[in-house]
């Protein structure tokens, strides 16, 4: 093959030229190990987040307050499962099997979004999760539609099309509660108080504390930095809260200009505590996934011995 005559330097140059020309990298293209490993980590984290994210909401299916809200919640959770599958299949194009990805999750070697390690205590949390957690995820995912890895980018386009229903259904729940009784208003405010900071934490550490950001930006895996995306989310969310009479749980919010707000800094001790496995629900979320994965083993085994048609 011709390829053996091409040096690593030439391959890298060709790879970077492609990226600089905004061409997508496809599964069979040459890519630096560091690029592949970054994607393996980021895409599997993303896929696991979609699937683990089904748990806090699944908790409320049987207690949804109306048939309408139950149907919507079921459809939303099914979407999250579907998003996990889009992302797993995109991540598998990097040469790692789905079993391997799940094993890394179960061994604690792969992470998922820390936000799902917080409990969903009331029905208003279904509103706050859809509005804030999905809202933060959309902010990030809209940017990732332009990521340089083709299969990841295409999965993001598909996911973004579906996510806006998620955010709107969440905001609608919050709005309806704010139009309701005093108890309902307090419940909605309480949910915002508990989910505001975890939602801001979803964007990750400050750029200055994010060691992997620079290569990820250079190779256009990420298109915007953590802090930039977080600010975008803050700027669009604060007016949404105010519109329905909710108060942001931060006494230092200052409106700098028309669409630009300053907020307090995140409690980074709490952030790292949850990332490192000591949040309120870390053990529960993982144990739940492992339990049902193992309990489903017989289904996979019997399917695999059925007559292939």
């Amino acid at each position: 093959m011709k390829t053996s005559l091409i040096s690593q330097e030439e391959l890298l140059l060709e790879f970077e030229n492609k990226i600089n020309a905004e061409q997508k990298i496809e599964p069979l293209d040459w890519m630096p190990d560091e690029y592949r490993n970054h994607l393996i980590r980021q895409m599997s984290q993303h896929a696991h987040s979609e699937v683990i994210g089904m748990q806090p909401e699944g908790n409320w299916i049987t207690r949804a307050p109306s048939l309408r809200s139950k149907k919507i919640l079921l459809a939303k959770i099914q979407d999250e499962g579907g998003h996990g599958l889009y992302l797993y299949s995109a991540a598998e194009t990097l040469g790692v099997s789905r079993d391997q990805y799940i094993q890394w999750l179960h061994e604690g070697k792969a992470k998922y979004a820390s936000v799902f390690n917080y409990p969903a205590l009331t029905w208003a949390d279904m509103g706050a999760i859809g509005w804030l957690v999905d809202g933060a995820a959309i902010t990030n995912q809209v940017s990732l539609q332009r990521t340089s890895y083709g299969p990841y980018s295409r999965a993001m386009v598909r996911i973004c099309k579906e996510e806006s229903f998620h955010q709107r259904q969440g905001y609608e729940i919050m709005w309806k509660m704010m139009e309701g009784t005093k108890d309902q208003q307090e419940m909605a405010q309480d949910a915002l108080n508990r989910w505001w900071w975890p939602a801001l934490m979803m964007f990750g550490p400050h750029d200055s504390d994010s060691p992997r950001t620079s290569n990820a930006m250079k190779w256009k895996i990420k298109r915007e930095t953590n802090d930039h995306l977080r600010q975008k989310f803050i700027n669009k969310t604060i007016p949404q809260a105010e519109l329905i009479g909710l108060k942001i749980p931060d006494s230092n919010v200052v409106k700098l200009s028309d669409e630009n707000y300053q907020t307090s800094d995140i409690n980074w001790d709490e952030f790292w505590k949850v990332v490192n496995g000591n949040g309120p629900c870390n053990e529960q979320r993982l144990a739940h996934h492992i339990k049902y994965h193992n309990e489903g083993a017989w289904v996979r085994e019997s399917a695999s011995i059925s007559n292939p048609k």
Partner: protein, 97 residues
């Protein structure tokens, strides 16, 4: 890497969004047989009426050109500009061409 994949084979999914249009690659799913493959593809990729047609094919059965071969594989078409309509000169004023 694990060789003990317990989740069935990988299948590529192609969706035709409207009758008469081309089928377009959407992604992949896992399944143990053809029936499960087409149903999983429906549940995963067409929850919002995205498709009027659906194809699934085992990923291992897809034949593709590797990027290393791209250059010379497509070579034969590069020097045949006369295959494009814009190659030909036309007299001023000709219509319906």
């Amino acid at each position: 890497m694990s060789n003990t994949d317990t989740q069935g084979e990988l299948w590529e999914v192609f969706i035709q969004s409207k009758p008469g249009q081309s089928f377009k690659h959407a992604g992949a799913i896992h399944a143990f047989d053809r029936e499960m493959a087409i149903e999983n593809a429906r549940d995963t990729y067409t929850r919002r009426g995205e498709g009027s047609g659906l194809w699934v094919v085992r990923s291992k059965d897809i034949v593709s050109v590797t990027p290393n071969e791209e250059g010379y594989f497509f070579d034969p078409s590069n020097d045949k500009v006369y295959r494009h309509p814009t190659f030909y000169e036309m007299p001023e004023g000709v219509k319906h061409m």
